[in-house]
Amino acid sequence: MATRQAFTDSDTADEAVRATCDDASMCKRFATSKGYWKDPYIQYFVRQVGERKAPEINRGYYARVQGMNHLLDAFLRKTACDCQVINFGAGLDTTFWRLKDENLLPKKYFEVDFPMVVARKIHNIKTKPPLSKPIIETHSSDSLLIDGHSLDSDRYCIIGADLRELPSLDEKLKKFQLNPELPTLLLSECVLVYMTPEQSSRLVHWAAETFHTAMFVNYEQVNMTDRFGQVMIENLQRRQCNLAGVEVCCSLESQKERFLKTGWESANALDMAAVYSVLPQDDMARIERLEFLDEKELLQQLLQHYSICWAFKDKLKLGLSQVAF
């Protein structure tokens, strides 16, 4: 019998990061069940609606999802879908299925996450026809290429990999026909913050080196040096969740810097309070009526401590600077 290796500290840290995938999907499941936005596929990844979340959390996720989708959809339209999308740390995200429904699929949609998360997602896809059908429909042959930690089809590919190990990541993506010549959108939602600044720097640098026409959209914490940020860091530490990359989250400037100094031409960032105010206001009014929020300050603080940062390089001169809020 082989001896079991004791879990290292880094295993515990990684496990805690993997668990955040459930936080995000459960919060999105609850928010969609209340009508904040429509997602007919999330129920196939998170069966139960679960216990209620605070109204400010629901509104915060609404802004996050709408904000990310705004940039994603704008990029797809700008490139007339003649592009690729790579979602780093995608977890149980359902964007591929939304894009298929809306006829906005890129040439290929890639998702990368820890092998354990990917294995779970593949299992869900395999066993739920509403998830597998759209993938099969967009595939040229009858069978998909599936192994324990990856699923590949013509338009959708999910890969189990460690984002800190770039050579292996690069190899896997290229194995599944990643095309460096195509305009590419890279997404990360609360992902880079779990790596050290050096590790995330290498990832965004790799992206800048690999693609000549691309955009990187990153959602995560910002303004973390104040009291609220400190309390959040302490709370997370109590859950063994280390924000290893929190240094880069000190301001909108530092969020942009990480891209500007790794080969990206241009970078912009907004905190979520700003994003909240530029999202379509009639839908905002609708969601604000869904649940009464007793203390607006809670939402304000939350929104001010998250940001969306988007950086691009535009060799093909597609006008990527117009993909913005």
């Binding site: 605070a54 959390i57 915060g60 007793d294 809670l298």
Partner: protein
């Protein structure tokens, strides 16, 4: 230059043609059950031809199919505004109202359709169904209003509730709250144990009795050498409440307290906080004061945890009793006729007097507007005048409003709570409006300090004391998933 009118007419005709094309497109999508696209194209048609009742009516139906009943109702109403003889419009409006549970309104529209189309079997059937529902609801209301008048108290038999032998917790002595009981209770709660339901009910029944005898405006006099401590929101943060008593001493006739509302919700230990506060109210009724906050209401308790916590630790019936007790909490307190304390703030209209507050019939859930609502909900603002509240209820009032109110009522300043402040308190309106908030690190996220105010009878000048959060057991608030340690977005 071409004649503008002619050009305009030509353009309008062209627009109508295109609008019709868009409508046809939308109709096609509708047939294919693609309602989102149907809505999109009806909307585009309406942009070109905004006075078309049919487009509104069709879009209304598409909204009904996508369960956007509010929008469906709005469209049906618009259709009828444009053409009051458009029968389909009445149908649509009735269906929307049915979906929104507004059966009486739906019935009126079905009546209209039946009158105009007496041979329409479907219309008649819908009318009859709707009529049945309206009658049923009226019947339910009739019996309910009889039941509502009865208090939970009447259906309790506290005398015969037995305390099991193995209960080692605090018990009332001869049915009364004593200092010994309170000390045992606080230690019992600190250890995360539950007060026996018999004692819980005894406290609630007694405190309801005490509160119901108080006026809506409580008036107290602080003698020269006396002082009072005013605390703001505590929101179920029991361990921080214990800390206040550590720092500032236990309540007593020589150490009076006033807790300015929002005792429950959001925090994980609302039950412990409220029984502690009610216990002291019974022990020192003349030196321990409680005012109602906006969270001492059914709507807030349902959403923000208190109802869930009471149901989990005790029963729904006990929550009903809490609700009745909360309704009797006074709304404001006046100290030495000079300082007025309330949870929210001042009024949406000028001219409200202390006598008006005294006369408020408070044994109810607060109305959507008016002085009782304002007392629990309003907020100060830096600029003069009044504005719509960011909360969507009541108003925001400026320094001039405060000035006028104080001068008309011969007061010096007001003390209120209701808003979290990073320093635990805030002085605004040139010292005439003070906010005090006593829930530090609110929701385990905000990192704010808590504060309380010392007020001496000698000079009535507020003295602020700040304090930080203390650790507490890791218990999630009853209302929410995620640990009580709010983690934000992940």
């Amino acid at each position: 230059m071409a004649d503008a009118t002619e050009g305009g007419t030509v353009k309008m005709a062209a627009n109508e043609r295109t609008a019709e094309e868009l409508k046809e497109k939308a109709n096609k999508y509708f047939k294919e059950k693609d309602y989102d696209n149907a809505i999109k194209y009806y909307s585009e048609a309406l942009e070109l031809n905004p006075d078309n009742a049919i487009y509104y009516s069709n879009r209304s139906l598409a909204y009904l199919r996508t369960e956007c009943y509010g929008y469906a109702l709005a469209d049906a109403t618009r259709a009828l505004e444009i053409d009051k003889n458009y029968v389909k419009g009445y149908y649509r409006r009735a269906t929307s109202n049915m979906a929104l549970g507004k059966f009486k309104a739906a019935l009126k529209d079905y009546e209209t359709v039946v009158r105009v189309r007496p041979n329409d079997k479907d219309a008649k059937m819908k009318y009859q169904e709707c009529n049945k529902i309206v009658k049923q609801k009226a019947f339910e209301r009739a019996i309910a209003s009889d039941e509502l008048k009865k208090s939970v108290v009447d259906s309790l038999d506290i005398e015969n509730m037995m305390i099991e032998d193995d209960y080692t917790g605090p018990k009332l002595e001869d049915g009364k709250v004593t200092l010994k009981f309170m000390k045992e209770l606080m230690a019992w709660f600190k250890d995360q144990k539950k007060l026996h339901r018999k004692c819980a009910y005894q406290i609630l029944v007694q405190v309801k009795e005490v509160l119901s005898k108080l006026p809506s405006l409580v008036e107290i006099t602080l003698k020269e050498a006396e002082k009072i401590t005013i605390c703001g929101d505590t929101h179920g943060q029991y361990y921080d409440l214990l800390n206040i008593f550590e720092l500032n001493g236990l309540p007593s006739p020589t150490n009076p307290y006033l807790f300015n509302g929002d005792f429950v919700d959001r925090g994980s230990f609302s039950v412990e906080v409220i029984f502690t506060l009610f216990g002291f109210k019974l022990l020192y009724p003349d030196s321990f004061h409680l005012l109602r906050g906006n969270h001492e209401t059914d709507n807030m308790n349902q959403m923000y945890g208190f109802e869930g916590e009471v149901k989990a630790k005790y029963t729904a019936q006990m929550f009903q009793l809490f609700s009745e007790v909360f309704q009797w909490l006074p709304l404001a307190q006046c100290i030495n006729s000079k300082v007025l304390v309330m949870h929210g703030g001042l009024f949406s209209e000028d001219g409200v007097t202390l006598d008006d507050i005294r006369k408020i019939d408070r044994n109810r859930q607060p109305p959507d507007s008016g002085p009782m609502c304002d007392l629990l909900w309003s907020d100060p603002q830096p600029q003069n005048g009044r504005s719509i509240s960011k909360r969507g209820v009541s108003c925001q009032f400026g320094p001039d409003v405060t000035e006028r109110f104080l001068s008309e009522n011969k007061l010096q300043y007001i003390v209120r709570s209701h808003e979290v402040k990073s320093e635990g308190y805030e002085v605004t309106h040139s010292g005439k409006c003070i906010t005090v908030f006593s829930a530090p690190n609110y929701c385990d996220q905000m990192g704010n300090k808590g504060a309380y105010i010392h007020l001496r009878g000698s000079d009535l000048k507020p003295e602020f004391h700040q304090f930080s959060a203390v650790p507490h057991p890791n218990v999630k608030p009853m209302a929410y998933a995620n640990t009580l340690l709010q983690l934000g977005m992940m």
